[in-house]
């Protein structure tokens, strides 16, 4: 009984990466693995060896503990296939979503807009904090200038500010971006922001606005 459950669990673990990238219309989650796959897809390397090695080491399902050294052999053999399938299924046109917080500035009554700068040209998001190859893939944004100011009616703005603590105007944001290019060896993805949704609460139930690039 125990061995059947372990076997089922192993099969699920091996299949799970394939289930994640089934070509659905969901936005990509900002994870180390997704960033790695996007980076490899953008780079389209001639030689996949170093990428397969990193994938086997860091992201491929681990079978050790269930089947010992035989599982590890399977793991290496499977990693290349899994990465190849994931690369095919990964849609670069699909946006990534990253969650963060940002501080609202003063409200300009004339322009009916909060000073708001959730991202700047210096903003960098990293996929991780490790030290191995491709363990800190950076995401930089090429169109941050378009995302500034949060428009709001004076009445709503007043209610919002009065509901916030006096020492902070922190809001939650969902930043949506599309990976556009990467150079091999750079560990950096250039991206464009497609929208930023702003919420007054961390649980993201109260949306207070959205920023989209100028003209869209």
């Amino acid at each position: 009984m125990k061995s059947i459950a372990a076997d089922l669990l192993r099969k699920f673990v091996l299949l799970s990466p394939l289930l994640i990238y089934d070509g659905s219309a969901c936005a990509h989650e900002f994870t180390e693995q997704n960033l790695f796959i996007a980076y490899v897809k953008l780079v389209s390397p001639q030689d996949m060896t170093p990428y397969n090695e990193v994938y086997a080491e860091r992201f491929a399902p681990k079978a050790s503990g269930i089947a010992g050294e035989f599982g590890q052999f399977d793991q290496k053999a499977n990693a290349e296939k899994i990465l190849s399938r994931n690369l095919k299924a990964f849609d670069l046109n699909e946006a990534f979503t990253v969650t963060n917080t940002a501080e609202l500035g003063r409200y300009d009554l004339e322009r009916q807009t909060f000073e708001f700068r959730p991202v700047s040209a210096a903003t960098v998001y990293r996929s991780g904090a490790g030290y191995g190859p491709m363990s800190r893939i950076e995401v930089v944004f090429t169109n941050t200038k378009a995302f500034t100011g949060l428009a709001m009616e004076p009445g709503s703005a007043r209610t919002l500010v009065e509901g916030m603590p006096s020492y902070s105007r922190r809001v939650a944001i969902d930043l949506e971006f599309r990976a556009t290019s990467a150079a091999e060896g750079s560990d950096r993805i250039r991206s464009v922001i497609t929208r930023i949704d702003v919420y007054s609460d961390e649980s993201r139930r109260k949306k207070i606005g959205g920023l989209v690039p100028n003209g869209s």
Binding site: S120, A121, A122, V140, F141, K145, A182, G185, S186, R188
Partner: protein
């Protein structure tokens, strides 16, 4: 020449020779002051007004703003894009208009590029550099007006406290040490373009200390005139008791 002084001069000459041997300076074409002032860097030019520069930087997609007051050159905040930055130093002219005397442009690259390729791109735009300086890790070129003295050696003398150092620069010339020193002080005010090459970063700096110094001198002269006028005005009301 006293022996001690001779010894000091020899030591300075040896130090300068060592310095030179590490810098591999090659004299190329020189440029006139007007030619260098006509160089554009990130579409900015020396002497351009702040408002013109603002428009250029804004249109090019840079994020930033100029503080109201002209800041210390070491405290300049950059205008940035995700892979490049422009540092603009300003001075205030006689009419109270802020203008540019220094533009520093930096660009980082995702992957290491060939320094020779980078240099080719720079030379295509600005022409051949006057000095080509190659060092172990950082390469740098400069574009400048004709110099009457070797600036890398003169800088060494200028930074040191040994007055005999300047005399080593007169060897083989009819100039006096004072003349060499004066020429150097005047020449460092001339506009220059310098380029620093690194495989993943490129910096170009267009500087005209002359513009800034002239503005500072003019401002100081204005303050002096105002102060003298004030002094003359106040003396009129003083009743003398002698």
């Amino acid at each position: 020449m006293p022996f001690a002084e001779h010894k000091m001069m020899t030591a300075a000459a040896v130090a300068l020779a060592l310095l030179e041997s590490t810098m591999n300076a090659n004299a190329g074409p020189t440029y006139s002051r007007e030619q260098i002032r006509a160089f554009s860097l990130a579409d900015l030019r020396l002497g351009m007004t702040q408002s013109e520069a603002e428009k250029v930087l804004d249109a090019a997609g840079y994020e930033g703003r100029f503080p109201k007051e002209v800041e210390d050159p070491n405290m300049v905040k950059p205008w940035i894009q995700f892979d490049r930055a422009v540092f603009v130093s300003r001075y205030t002219d006689e009419l109270g208009v802020n203008r540019i005397w220094r533009i520093r442009y930096g660009q980082s690259f995702d992957v290491a590029l060939s320094i020779e390729d980078l240099r080719r791109r720079v030379v295509t735009k600005y022409g051949a550099p006057t000095d080509l300086v190659g060092r172990s890790e950082i390469d740098g070129d400069t574009y400048h007006v004709p110099f009457t003295t070797e600036h890398s050696r003169a800088r060494f003398c200028d930074a040191g406290a040994d007055p005999s150092c300047w005399r080593t620069l007169t060897l083989g010339t009819t100039l006096s040490a004072d003349a060499v020193q004066r020429a150097f002080k005047a020449e460092i005010l001339e506009p220059t373009l310098s380029v620093e090459y690194q495989p993943k970063v490129l910096y170009l700096t267009l500087t005209d200390h002359g513009l800034n110094e002239a503005a500072k001198s003019a401002a100081a002269a204005r303050v002096k005139v105002q102060s003298e006028e004030k002094s003359r005005a106040s003396i009129k009301n003083v009743k003398m008791g002698f």
